[in-house]
Amino acid sequence: MKAINRNIYIASFVFLSMVCSCTDLDETPHDVLTQDDLGNSPEILQALTAPVYTSLTNVMFGWHGYFDLQEECSDVIVTPARPNGWVDGGTYRALHMHTWNSFQSQPASLWNRVYGALNILNTSIGTYKNMANVEGLVAELRALRAFYYYLLLDNFGNVPIVTEDDVTKTNFVPEQSTRAEVFDFVETELLEVMPILSKEKVYGKMNHWAARMVLAKIYLNAEVYIGETMWDEALEQVEDIEANGGFTLESNYHSNFVVENESSGEQIFSIVFDATRSGWFHYPWKTLHPSSGATYELGSQPWGGSCAIPQFIDTYDEDDSRLNIWIRGPQFASDGSPIYNIFDPALEDVQLNYTKQIGHIDETQEYEGYRIGKFEIERGVAGTAISNDVPFFRYADALMIKAECLLRKGQADAAAAIVTELRARAFVAAPDKAEVTGSELQQGSKYNYGTYKNGVMLTTEGGADIQYGRFLDELGYEFAAEFHRRQDLIRFGVFTSKSWLSHIPNGDHRAIFDIPQSALDANPNLSHNPGY
C-alpha cells in the first residue's frame, strides 16, 4: 500500500508541476494575420497597399456611396418613397430636401471609406519612402492620396490632414484644417509629384494624367473652395492632357459605359469593377422596378426606386441620344413579352411603363420615373453586381473643363466649338442640332426650376437667371448620372438657391456636408462645419 501511496504522490506532483507551467495565454489566430505576422515580403506589401484602389469601388457604390451622395442632393436624381419602401428612415428625403445633419449616413460613409483608404496610403507611403527604387510608386500613392483629399475638400471642406509622418506618432489625434489648407495640400502634393508620376497608362491606376485632372478640378472649383478664380490654371492642366495625353473621344457616347468599357479611349482614371471580384456595382438593382429583372434576365430581383427628376428630363432635346441613358416607356421581358406592375392590384394587368411624371418625394407610383441605365446592364448576371468599370475622369470631362474655362474667360465661341464637338456624337440622327453657339452658352438654363408635384409645377423659378446656365445644361446632358451634378450645381450657384421637385433651398451652408457625427465622436479636435 505504501508503494501505491508513493506512486500517487509522485503522480500528483507530476500533474501539478505540468499544470502549473500551463499558464501560457498567448493567442495565435488561424484565419487572420496579426501585426507580427505581416513581414515585408513584396506580396504582403502589395496586398496591404491594394485597398487604396479597391476602396474606390466601395467609395463609389458601397451602400449609401459617393454616387448617391452626389446625385440625390441634386436636381437630376431622386429616390422617392415607393410602394415597395424607400422611406428608409427619411435618409433619401433628407438628401433631396437638404435637411441632412451630422448623422446622415451617406456623408459618413464617404468619410469613413476615404479615411480608411488614406490610412493605408499613409502607412504604405511611410513604408515605401524608406525603400530604394520605388520613387514612382511613392509618387503614385501620394497622387492618389491627393485625389482622396480632393473628395474630402469638395464634400466636407474643413477636414484633418494626416500624412505618413503622423502615422508613427504616439497619441496622435488629428487636428481639423481649413478648406483653404486642404486645397493647398492637394495642390502642393500634386505639383510636387507631377514630374515623377508615370505617364504610362496602367488601367485603373493613378498616373500623371489622372493627377492633372485632380488639379484641373480643384482649380475649376477654386472660387468655391478658396474664394478665388483659377480658370487659367485649370485650363493649363486640361490643355496638357489634350495635347500630350493621347486620349480620344469615343465616337459613340454610350461605349464609355458598356460592360467591357476598359478599351474606351476616353478613360483617364477608372474604378475597376467586376461582378464577382470587386466591391459591388449594384446600381441597376437600386433603380429598377422588380419586374425589370426579366428584361435583363437578372439572377436576383431588383428592389429599386431611384429615378430621374422630370424637370431635368424636360431640358433634353428629344433628338439627343444621351437621353437613352434613361430607361423609359413600356417595358418588356428579354423574350419580348410585356412585364407588369406588381404592387397595385388594380395595375397588375397593366404593362410596366416608366413614365417621366412622378408624384413627389413622399409618394410615387411604382411605374413612375425614368430609371438610370447609363451603364449597360449585362444580361443574365447571377448576383447583384455588374462588371462595368466606372470612369471617374474621362476625356470628355477634360474637354468640358477647357470649354468652361474658356467660356468664363470670355472665349465663348471657342467654348462652343468644344461643346459642339461633344454634342455631335449625340446628335448623329439630327446633326444640325449638334451645334451650339457662344452666345447660346451664355444664356440661362432651360431647367424649369420650382417645386413640382404629380406633373404640376407648384411654384416656378425657372433657370433663365443662371449665368452660363446653358453650359450647366450641357454638363448635365454629358455627365448625368456620373456623380458630377452636386459639384456643378454649386459652382453655378444653383445648389442652394433653386427649388426642384419637392426640394426648396435650405441654407447656403449645405454646399458642404457636416462633419459626420461618428468622426466628431471619435475626435474631440473636430467641430461641426459652419451652419450645422
Partner: protein, 990 residues
C-alpha cells in the same frame, strides 16, 4: 501537453485497477446474516468487515451476507453511506441480523455551490435550489422550461413556438452591452446548455444568484450560475428502472388575424380593395403550412448502487413535430455514469459519458411571413400542377413551395467524456482530478430544387449548401477539498486549478446551377456556379480557439450553527484578454447569522428558522471573441485588386489593438433574510441586491487615422442593477388526505446605464441606437442612453391622423415634435424622436400551487411580467391599408375617423403595454397504489396543459417576447408563434 496528460491519467488508472485485484481472504468460520433498513427491507451493497482487518464482504441484492471469522471474539463492522455504522460481536451466533439507522446529519439538505456542496443551513449566499418535484411538469422542450416561475429573479421565456427554440434566461437583469447577459449553465460542473441532457435526468438545479456565490467561477460567473446536477445512483440503491413518457399535441396560442378570402371579397365589395386582387380561390395559407403535431417523449433510466460500485444509465428520446411543416425536432440522449471505490475506499473513480443527437427541421420565419402576407384568394398550385408563384412580385414567395421544394437536413451531436479520480489520503480530505472532453458537431445540408422560387424567379437552377462545424473543449480540474468539525467549529477548505481550452472549426460550401435535382446536396461539385466563380457560390473555412486558466480557493467557517462565513478567491486568466490584462482576481466574502439558534429566540416557538445573510463578491465575464485584443489584418474573400494584369488578394486591417482588453466586472452586494415560521408552514427568502457592472465592453469611436479602423473595442461602460427578490412558501392545508402548498416568487429589477465612458475611452454622445425595424421602414427602434435603462423604445410619438386634403377620408400620421408641436410625419426630423416606453419588464410575479388529495395530485403554475411595452411589428407592418400584400383585418379600422394613408412607419401607435398574467401550466396526476401491483413500485399518470390562458391587453400573439440583447420588447413579425400544449404522461418505477 494534453495528450501527455491523458496518457498519464490512463496509466495511473490501469495501475490502480490492477493492484486492487490482488485481494486475499483466509476463511475459518462462517457467519451469515441480513442487513435491514429502517423500513425492514434488505439492504444490498452494505459493507461487512472484520474489525481490525481488511477482510470483508458486501451484502447481496436481498441484504444477505456470509463471512468467515476467526472465532467468537470477532467483531463485525457493518457500514453504509448515509447510515450509522454498527459493530456486532459475533459470539456464538451463526446468524447475525443487523438493522441500520439513517445518519440524520448526512441526510440534511445540501445545496450545490460549485466545486462542492454546502449544508443548506450553512448557506450565506443567494442560492436557490429547485428539485424535480417542483419542476414545471408536462411537455418541456429543454431543462430551462422546468424552471419557469420557480426562482425569484430568474426569468425564463421561450418566446418562440419552434420545437428546437432555446429558452432565454436572464438573472437579475441585463448585465452587458455587447456580451451575453445569460447565466453560465453547468451540468455536473461542466459548461453545457439547457438542452444538453434529458430533463428527466436531473436531480436538482441550483442557481447561484449573487456574486458572493458565483465568484468561485471567476470570469464566467458575472451573470450568475445555474448548476444542473444529474441523477446518480446512491449506495444501497436496488436496481431501479424508471420510465417516463408522454404524448403531447399543440395548437397555436393565438393567430394573427389576417384577412381570409371572404374578408378580402368583403373589402372588394366595400371598394377598399381593387377587384383585380381577387384571384378566385380561397386558401388559408397558415393552414397550408401547419399541422396538428404529435410530440412524444420517452425516458428510461436504470440505477443501481452498492457501497463501492454505483452506476446510472439514462436514455431519452424525443420527437416533436412542430406546428409548422418542416419544423420537426428529434433528440436522443444517453448518459452513463459509473463510480467505483477502490483500495479500502481511499480511491474513487468515476466515468461519465454523455451522447446527444439532434435532428431538426429548417423552418424559418420567412416562410411564416410569406403565409401571412400571401393573397388568400390565390391558389396553392396552378391548374397544371405547378406551384403558383408570382415571380415578379417583390419578396413574395409561395410558402408551401418554400417548404416542399427545399431539402433541409440539420444534425447536431455532442459527446462528453469525463473521468475523475478522487483520493482520500486522510479523513476529511479529498484530492480530485477530473479530465473531460466535450465534442460538439453540426452538419447542415440544404438543397433548393429547380421548382423552388430560387429558380422560378432567380434562375439559380438548383441551390445547394453544406456546412460543417465542430467544437472541441478540453477540461482539467484539480481540487483539494477539506471538511472538519472540531467541537462547535466547522471548517471547510477548497483549493483548485482549472484549465479549459476550446477550439471551434467550421467550413461551408455553397453552389448552384445543377444539372439535375437528383443529387440534392450530395454532389455539390456538380454545380456550375462555383466553377465560374459566380457570386452566391463559394467555399469558406474558419477556426478560432481560446484558453482559460484559473486558480481558486474557498474557506468556510461555521460556529455552533449560528455564525457562518464563506470566502472565496479566484485568480483567472483568459487568452482572449489583452497582453497587459490577461489575469484578474475575483474575491468574495459572505456571512450568515442564524438568529433562530440564539438562546434569546429559543422560546419563540412561532419562529422555526431565521437567518440574516450578507455577501459581497466580484465576478467577471468574457464578452470578447478570440483575438479581439490584437491588431488584425484579413484577406478579403470578396474583393480583389486589379493590378493592371491580374486580380490579386488584398489585406485589410479589421481591428485596432487593445492590450488592455479584459473581462467585464460585476461588483455585487447581497443582503438576504431566510425565515421559516409556524412549524415551517410559512417560509421564505428575501434578497436585496446591488450590482455595479463595470468595464463593460463597447466599440469606441476613434479617429482614422491614426487608428487602423474607426472603432476600438474596450472596457469602459458602467451599468447598475438593483433589485429585490421575494420567495414565499406557504402550506395552507396539511391534513392526512389533503395537502396544499403554494409558493410566490416576486422580483423587481431597476437597470441603469450609468456611463458609456471612462478616462481613456469616451463617447461624445451619451447614447447610441439599437434594434432595427427591418425593411422597408429601416429605422433603429431603441435608444441606449446614459442615465437611462436599457430597453427604451425611441421613435416618433403619434398623436393621430391628419386628413389628406387631396383624398377625403384618408389621413397621414401626426406626430409630436421635439418642442411639443404637432406636425405631419412627412415634416419630422430625427430630433423629433422621443422615448416611447421600455421593453424590459420592471417586475415579475409567479404563483405556484401544489395540491394533493389522496392519490390525486395537481399543480398550477401562473406567472406574469409587468410594467413594460412591446413594439408590435405585425401591426406596424400589416395594420396598414397602403401595402400591397395581405394585411391584418384591422388595417381598415379607422383612426380618428380616417383611413391610414401613411406608408409603414415606426410610431408609438404600435407600441403597446405588454403586462400579462399567464396560466402557464396545470397538471393533474393520479398515483396508483404500489401495493396493488407486483410489476412496478410506483406508477403515476397525468394530464397537463401548458400556456393555457393569458390575460393581457396586448394585441399581438404573445406578450412574452424577447428580453435579451439591446432591443428587448421587439415582437418580431416573423417569430414562430407560441403554442398551447396538451400532454398525457406516465411515470413508472420498476
Amino acid at each position: 501537453m494534453k495528450e501527455t496528460f491523458t496518457k498519464q491519467v490512463f496509466r495511473l488508472t490501469l495501475y490502480i485497477v490492477l493492484l486492487t485485484a490482488a485481494n486475499n481472504v483466509f476463511a475459518q468460520q462462517t457467519v451469515r446474516g441480513t442487513v435491514l433498513s429502517e423500513a425492514d427491507e434488505g439492504m444490498p451493497g452494505v459493507n461487512v468487515v472484520l474489525k481490525g482487518t481488511t477482510t470483508g464482504t458486501t451484502t447481496d441484492s436481498n441484504g444477505r451476507f456470509s463471512i468467515s471469522v476467526p472465532g467468537p471474539e470477532a467483531v463485525l463492522v457493518v457500514s453504509f453511506v448515509g447510515y450509522n455504522t454498527e459493530e456486532i460481536t459475533v459470539g456464538s451466533q451463526s446468524q447475525v441480523d443487523v438493522k441500520l439507522t439513517p445518519d440524520i446529519a448526512s441526510l440534511q439538505e445540501v445545496v450545490v455551490i460549485g466545486y462542492g456542496t454546502q449544508r443548506k443551513q450553512d448557506v450565506t449566499t443567494a442560492v436557490a435550489q429547485v428539485k424535480p418535484d417542483e419542476f414545471v411538469p408536462g411537455a418541456v422542450r429543454n431543462a430551462g422550461e422546468l424552471l419557469r416561475g420557480k426562482v425569484a429573479g430568474l426569468t425564463l421565456s421561450t418566446s418562440s413556438g419552434d420545437p428546437d427554440a432555446g429558452t432565454e434566461i436572464l438573472l437579475r437583469g441585463i448585465t452587458s452591452i455587447y456580451g451575453s447577459s445569460s447565466p453560465l449553465v453547468l451540468v455536473d460542473g461542466y459548461p453545457g446548455d439547457m438542452n444538453s441532457i434529458s430533463p428527466n435526468d436531473i436531480e436538482s438545479i441550483d442557481v447561484l444568484k449573487d456574486a458572493s456565490a458565483s465568484a468561485i467561477y471567476g470570469t464566467r460567473g458575472k451573470n450568475g450560475v445555474i448548476l444542473i446536477t444529474t441523477k446518480k445512483a446512491k449506495a444501497g440503491l436496488q436496481p431501479t428502472i424508471e420510465y417516463s413518457g408522454y404524448v403531447a399535441t399543440e395548437r397555436f396560442n393565438r393567430k394573427a388575424k389576417f384577412m381570409n378570402a371572404s374578408d378580402v371579397r368583403a373589402r372588394i365589395g366595400e371598394g377598399l380593395i381593387d377587384g383585380a386582387y381577387d384571384k378566385g380561390s380561397s386558401t388559408d395559407w397558415l393552414d397550408e403550412i401547419s399541422r396538428a403535431p404529435i410530440n412524444h417523449f420517452h425516458n428510461i433510466s436504470l440505477r443501481s448502487g452498492t457501497e463501492r460500485t454505483q452506476y446510472a444509465v439514462n436514455a431519452s428520446y424525443q420527437l416533436a413535430d412542430g406546428m409548422f411543416l418542416a419544423s420537426d425536432n428529434e433528440e436522443f440522449k444517453l448518459r452513463m455514469d459509473v463510480t467505483q471505490y477502490l483500495i479500502a475506499d481511499k480511491l474513487k473513480m468515476n466515468v461519465n459519458v454523455l451522447k446527444g443527437l439532434q435532428k431538426y427541421g429548417g423552418f424559418n420565419g420567412w416562410t411564416y411571413r410569406q403565409a401571412l402576407i400571401r393573397n388568400p384568394t390565390s391558389s396553392v398550385k396552378e391548374a397544371d400542377g405547378n406551384w403558383s408563384e408570382e415571380p415578379a412580385q417583390f419578396q413574395y414567395e409561395n410558402p408551401l413551395a418554400l417548404i416542399k421544394e427545399q431539402i433541409y437536413d440539420n444534425k447536431s451531436q455532442w459527446t462528453w467524456l469525463t473521468g475523475s479520480v478522487s483520493y482520500f489520503p486522510v479523513d476529511n480530505l479529498e484530492l480530485k482530478i477530473v479530465g473531460s472532453q466535450h465534442q460538439w458537431s453540426n452538419e447542415t445540408g440544404t438543397y433548393q430544387t429547380k421548382k423552388h422560387i430560387s429558380n422560378a424567379r432567380d434562375s439559380k437552377n438548383g441551390v445547394a449548401y453544406i456546412e460543417n462545424s465542430a467544437v472541441v473543449e478540453n477540461y482539467l480540474d484539480l481540487t483539494a477539498d477539506y471538511t472538519k468539525t472540531i467541537g462547535l467549529h466547522r471548517i471547510t477548505g477548497l483549493l483548485g486549478y482549472s484549465y479549459i481550452d476550446y477550439a471551434n472549426t467550421a467550413s461551408s460550401i455553397s453552389n448552384f446551377d445543377f444539372p439535375t435535382d437528383n443529387f440534392s446536396y450530395h454532389s455539390i461539385e456538380q454545380g456550375r456556379a462555383l466553377r465560374q466563380g459566380l457570386s452566391g457560390s463559394g467555399v469558406d473555412s474558419y477556426k478560432a480557439d481560446w484558453k482559460l486558466i484559473g486558480f481558486f480557493g474557498r474557506v468556510g467557517y461555521g460556529f455552533n450553527d449560528k455564525y457562518n462565513l464563506l470566502a472565496s478567491l479566484r485568480y483567472e486568466g483568459s487568452s482572449r484578454f489583452g497582453a497587459d490584462n490577461k489575469w484578474g482576481l475575483f474575491p468574495s466574502i459572505s456571512a450568515g447569522w442564524t438568529i433562530s439558534n440564539e438562546a434569546f429566540l429559543s422560546d419563540v416557538t412561532v419562529i422555526n428558522m431565521l437567518k440574516l445573510r450578507v455577501g459581497y463578491g466580484r465576478t467577471g465575464s468574457i464578452s470578447t471573441d478570440p483575438y479581439a485584443s490584437l491588431t488584425r489584418y484579413a484577406y478579403s474573400s470578396s474583393q480583389f485588386y486589379f493590378n493592371g494584369k491580374d486580380w490579386v488578394s488584398i489585406l485589410q486591417p479589421v481591428a485596432n489593438p487593445n492590450p488592455d482588453l479584459g473581462w467585464e466586472t460585476n461588483i455585487e452586494y447581497n443582503f438576504g433574510l431566510d425565515f421559516s415560521l409556524l412549524q415551517n408552514r410559512v417560509s421564505g427568502t428575501i434578497d436585496y441586491y446591488d450590482r455595479t457592472l463595470e468595464d463593460l465592453v463597447f466599440d469606441y469611436p476613434v479617429p482614422v487615422p491614426p487608428n487602423l479602423v474607426g472603432t476600438t473595442r474596450a472596457n469602459a461602460a458602467t451599468m447598475t442593477n438593483r433589485g429585490v427578490e421575494i420567495a414565499l412558501n406557504i402550506i395552507p392545508v396539511q391534513s392526512g388526505k389533503f395537502e396544499w402548498s403554494t409558493n410566490f416568487n416576486y422580483s423587481l429589477n431597476k437597470n441603469k446605464l450609468t456611463s458609456l465612458s471612462n478616462d481613456k475611452f469616451k463617447v461624445e454622445n451619451d447614447f447610441f441606437y439599437a434594434g432595427y425595424t427591418g425593411d422597408p421602414i429601416q429605422l433603429s427602434t431603441h435608444k441606449i442612453q446614459e442615465g437611462k435603462a436599457i430597453g427604451s423604445f425611441f421613435g416618433y410619438k403619434s398623436v393621430g391622423l391628419e386628413e389628406d386634403p387631396d383624398n377625403a377620408g384618408e389621413g397621414k400620421w401626426l406626430v409630436e415634435g421635439a418642442n411639443g408641436e404637432i406636425k405631419s410625419i412627412e415634416d419630422v426630423t430625427e430630433d423629433d424622436r422621443q422615448i416611447l416606453g421600455n421593453g424590459l419588464p420592471q417586475w415579475y410575479l409567479a404563483w405556484n400551487n401544489y395540491l394533493r388529495y389522496g392519490n390525486f395530485d395537481m399543480s398550477i403554475t401562473m406567472r406574469g411580467a409587468f410594467d413594460y411595452q412591446i413594439l408590435n411589428f405585425q401591426r406596424m407592418f400589416y395594420e396598414n391599408p397602403t401595402i400591397v400584400y395581405n394585411k391584418l383585418n384591422s388595417a381598415y379600422d379607422k383612426i380618428d375617423g380616417l383611413t391610414l394613408a401613411s406608408p409603414q412607419s415606426y410610431v408609438s401607435y404600435y407600441i403597446e403595454d405588454g403586462d400579462f398574467w399567464k396560466i402557464d401550466n396545470v397538471t393533474l396526476g393520479y398515483n396508483f397504489n404500489p401495493s396493488n401491483s407486483k410489476a412496478f413500485r410506483k406508477a403515476r399518470v397525468y394530464i397537463s396543459g401548458s400556456n393555457l390562458a393569458t390575460i393581457t391587453g396586448y394585441k399581438g400573439i404573445d406578450p412574452e417576447v424577447t428580453r435579451l440583447g439591446l432591443a428587448p420588447g421587439n415582437d418580431d413579425r416573423d417569430k414562430y408563434p407560441t403554442t398551447r400544449t396538451f400532454t398525457l404522461g406516465v411515470n413508472l418505477t420498476f
